[in-house]
């Protein structure tokens, strides 16, 4: 199908805060796979159909290796076009067997059972945050007081990173995620966080604690650089993602009162509600990227070796061929199967933790404040259209009643 016109990767503003940008919706409606031009001129593909996205993510002929990637954002372009290889430990951007080796050192720590053991502690953390909000009185910014602190506290405790140092990594993370940041700014922010983690790993090696990083050091399998980059990956992936889902999902519920009422009436639906929130309110701006290791024909298109594909999970999760009433938030949706955590060997390592944090977070929030509502009009809520991870910058809320 050579008649399909190519377009550039776009990050246009959204018309509905929970829907993908209009251009992406149009592309998805027209076809499941579209040629796109990367900022360096490379011609790759945008894939928006659910079944194709899933198939590519499960296909070992598509690589996650960083050195095969063309930067999808202009400001992050390197001169040669392709990005440098991932540094040791950055397994998100590697293929098996290198990827497998790192991932297997961590998966034992992120099992369903292991995460379930954290429930009482996470409930305590959430309750403490809500106490603080109730005490201060309305209005409150849910991002600052609730959505960001909960996952930050949890991942800090799990890894053994002092929460009191959050200023350092939250500021640098914000720079990393800002789409307008220049390559120099990004590199400086990376150096800022890795410098901090380098010292932290050294001090833990000297006096180990009862935490994940100390445990990793003790395996003796990883050198200093690998430990620092794994810590970086877990710290950054572990708090901004969940934080933005907590805030964006709360916003979605506050603007869908019937769904919120249904959840309040039947709190046991929280598990399905969390899956639906992950499907409906996507924090992806661009999508997941892969590169073809060989020529591959999919859905009548020829993808040549080296060509990059962007898997627009946010569009796939709204594919009407897979989901009935795809654009409707329905917390009772059966057999969800969303792709918010990806698919294939890289499927989110922290997904069971994220699920628990979201279940506890939403439930505790709406139980504590039964008449919680937005303190500003919904269309004035500042959206994170300028960040690589989407969500809200602020979520001002107000209330009259507080339950204990």
């Amino acid at each position: 199908m050579t008649e399909t016109l190519s377009s550039a990767i776009t990050l246009s503003p959204r018309t509905c805060p929970f829907d993908p940008p209009p251009e992406l919706i149009e592309q998805a409606e027209a076809r499941a796979i579209t040629p796109v031009r990367f900022p360096d001129g490379h011609m790759g593909w945008l894939i928006t159909g659910y079944h194709l996205v899933r198939a590519v993510l499960a296909d070992p002929r598509f690589s996650a290796r960083q050195e095969l990637r063309h930067a999808p954002i202009e400001h992050r372009m390197v001169e040669k076009g392709l990005l440098p290889p991932a540094e040791p430990g950055m397994f998100l951007r590697m293929d098996p067997p290198e990827h497998t080796r790192y991932r297997r050192l961590l998966t034992g720590q992120f099992t369903v059972r292991h995460m379930n053991r954290l429930i009482p502690r996470i409930e305590r953390i959430a309750a403490d945050r809500l106490d603080a909000i109730a005490e201060q009185g309305p209005p409150a910014d849910l991002v600052h007081e609730f959505a960001l602190p909960i996952p930050s506290l949890v991942i800090c405790e799990l890894l053994g990173v002092p929460y009191s140092d959050r200023e350092v990594f939250q500021r640098h993370t914000a720079t990393l995620l800002r789409l307008e940041s220049s390559l120099d700014e990004v590199n400086a922010a990376m150096a800022g966080i890795t410098g901090y983690l380098d010292e932290l790993v050294r001090s833990k090696a000297a006096s180990p604690g009862d935490d994940l990083l100390s445990g990793l050091i003790e395996t003796g399998e990883l050198d200093q650089g690998e430990l620092v980059r794994i810590a970086f990956l877990l710290l950054v992936a572990g708090h901004e993602t969940t934080a933005n889902m907590l805030a964006l999902g709360s916003f979605a519920l506050l603007t869908n009162p019937a769904q919120l009422a249904a959840l309040r009436e039947n709190p046991s639906q929280i598990e399905g509600a969390v899956e639906e929130m992950l499907r409906y309110a996507s924090i992806f701006q661009i999508g997941i990227q892969r590169a073809a290791l060989e020529d591959v024909d999919i859905d009548g298109h020829h993808i040549a070796k080296g060509e990059n594909v962007i898997l627009a999970v946010q569009a796939a999760n709204r594919d009407p061929e897979r989901f009935e009433h795809a654009d409707t938030l329905d917390i009772t949706r059966p057999n969800n199967g969303h792709l918010a955590f990806g698919h294939g060997v890289h499927q989110c390592l922290g997904q069971q933790l994220a699920r628990i944090e979201m279940r506890i977070g939403y439930r505790a929030l709406f139980e504590r404040f039964p008449d919680l509502r937005l303190a500003i009009p919904a269309d004035e809520v500042p959206m994170r259209s300028d960040m690589a991870i989407y969500g809200v910058h602020k979520l001002p809320v107000t209330w009259k009643e507080v339950k204990q």
């Binding site: 993510l57 297997r104 998966t107 034992g108 992120f110 099992t111 369903v112 955590f341 890289h346």
Partner: protein, 65 residues
């Protein structure tokens, strides 16, 4: 119905345990799948099929007798 798993290719997402906890568990050490019930009773068949479809690394197989 017979269920089998390929532990070598398992990526420890935990999706099977989440979907069909009566059939699957995860190794404490590396999180890889442990099959609890290779010949599940009728009432667990649909959960087993769901686990197959949700597994991100396609390591669960079911065969009908």
């Amino acid at each position: 119905m017979k269920v089998s798993v390929d532990r070598e290719r398992c990526c420890s997402s935990g999706m099977c345990v989440l979907t069909a906890p009566a059939l699957f568990d995860q190794d404490e050490e590396d999180g890889r799948v442990i099959l609890l019930e290779a010949e599940p009773p009728e009432e667990l068949h649909s959960a087993a099929r769901k686990a197959v479809s949700f597994c991100p690394c396609q390591v669960i197989t079911v065969t009908d007798d």
